[in-house]
Symmetry: C2
Subunit: 198 residues, 2 copies
DNA sequence: GCAGGACTTGCAGTCTCTGCAAAAACTGCA
DNA sequence: TGCAGTTTTTGCAGAGACTGCAAGTCCTGC
């Protein structure tokens, strides 16, 4: 029973991936704006209506989807850290966990094409949904503030730490894309910079 | 002649502001999604078509428009700093300049309502156009890398510094919204944290 | 008062996205 | 195999965002 659910989920993800692959290919060919949902659906052998069962919006089909993790999951990760650990160290662990969860490996096949697409159409970055990231930052900041016993509306530290942690993740991801070092290594290095001071 | 152009521009901005005021009021009343362009236009005494002469998209009428500065301007600000200044100090100055340029004073009348709107509908944050910010971060990072004589694709420091600087701006803005201290003070404090290490 | 330009508008049309209910496909199980 | 329950897919109808175009209106300087 549990296994069945899991299988369904896997199939769902696979189909999503397949649709995305088609969408990305078409976007590279014609430009993202010239691609309609209908074109994608036709090419992917589904009805347009079904497309929206898999993606909330057309742009989501071009999205990198860094959100493998839920806000709750990531918050739980932070809460699981000992309360007396230095907050920066807690965040290091949390970000490492996020990086693992967001593991791009399963996208390997598409990864190059996606990269190409974003290189050619940088405006797509701005269409990605970052809203949840903001809310996540706020939630994490609140948690850190609680641990410090300060008011998050007055204490600059929590927001600064969490914001910088996300910046670290992003910087590390950028390097990982180009470079040769692993994401984990890069995140560690980024946090070393943060902890030592920039 | 030149003056006429200027006047036209001022009138245009004024109308834009007026429309936005109406839009924000309606959004507070009914929620942003329940407000249609037609409602806004009717309330603002213009045709729906004219609305789109002033705003590229419906959401833009709810937007905070933090982009008073151009990417070129902000990049120029960084380039104006002495090359041997510690990069973190350069970025501190740049961010301070951005804060001044983004000065919300001219929005004073609307500011409270906008604040209220974003407090009640945080999802609006995610709809704002941040694309240019990403590009700006990349450009600033490249400049910093150039000054350090490193390859931006291998050196984590520039991306980390610039990303963290933007995080500092955002954290400071959040505090400034709630709090009693000035944005300038808060930015300084945020950078002190960054420089000392978190 | 008039010529030229800017602003506004209506219209027609494309496209995204949603709710709903019927049809189809798939599942475990007897 | 065949049935019953559950998902998944789909068509349909419709709201609403947005655009290009061309005609209309207003405004300005002369």
């Amino acid at each position: 029973m549990g296994g069945s659910e899991e299988r369904l989920e896997r199939r769902r993800v696979a189909k999503r991936t397949a649709i995305r692959a088609v969408a990305v290919r078409l976007a590279l060919e014609h430009g993202p704006d010239a691609v309609t949902v209908e074109m994608i659906s036709t090419a992917a052998d589904i009805s347009p209506r079904t497309f929206f069962n898999y993606f909330r919006a057309k742009d989501d089909a071009f999205s990198i989807e860094p959100h493998q993790w839920t806000r709750e999951e990531i918050l739980a990760e932070l809460r699981a850290r000992p309360a007396d650990e230095p907050p920066a160290e807690s965040m290091r662990v949390v970000v490492q966990a996020m990086a693992v969860a967001a593991d791009f490996a399963h996208l390997a096949a598409e990864w190059e094409l996606l990269q190409e697409l974003y290189a050619r159409h940088p405006e797509l970055f701005s269409r990605m949904r970052f809203g949840e990231v903001d809310a996540t930052i706020a939630a994490l900041s609140a948690e850190i503030a609680a641990r410090r016993g300060t008011d998050p509306a007055r204490d600059l530290y929590p927001g600064m730490l969490v914001g910088a942690s996300f910046a670290a993740l992003q910087a590390a991801e950028n390097q990982a894309r180009h470079g040769e070092r692993s994401l984990g290594e890069l995140i560690d290095e980024a946090f070393d910079l943060l902890v030592q001071g920039l």
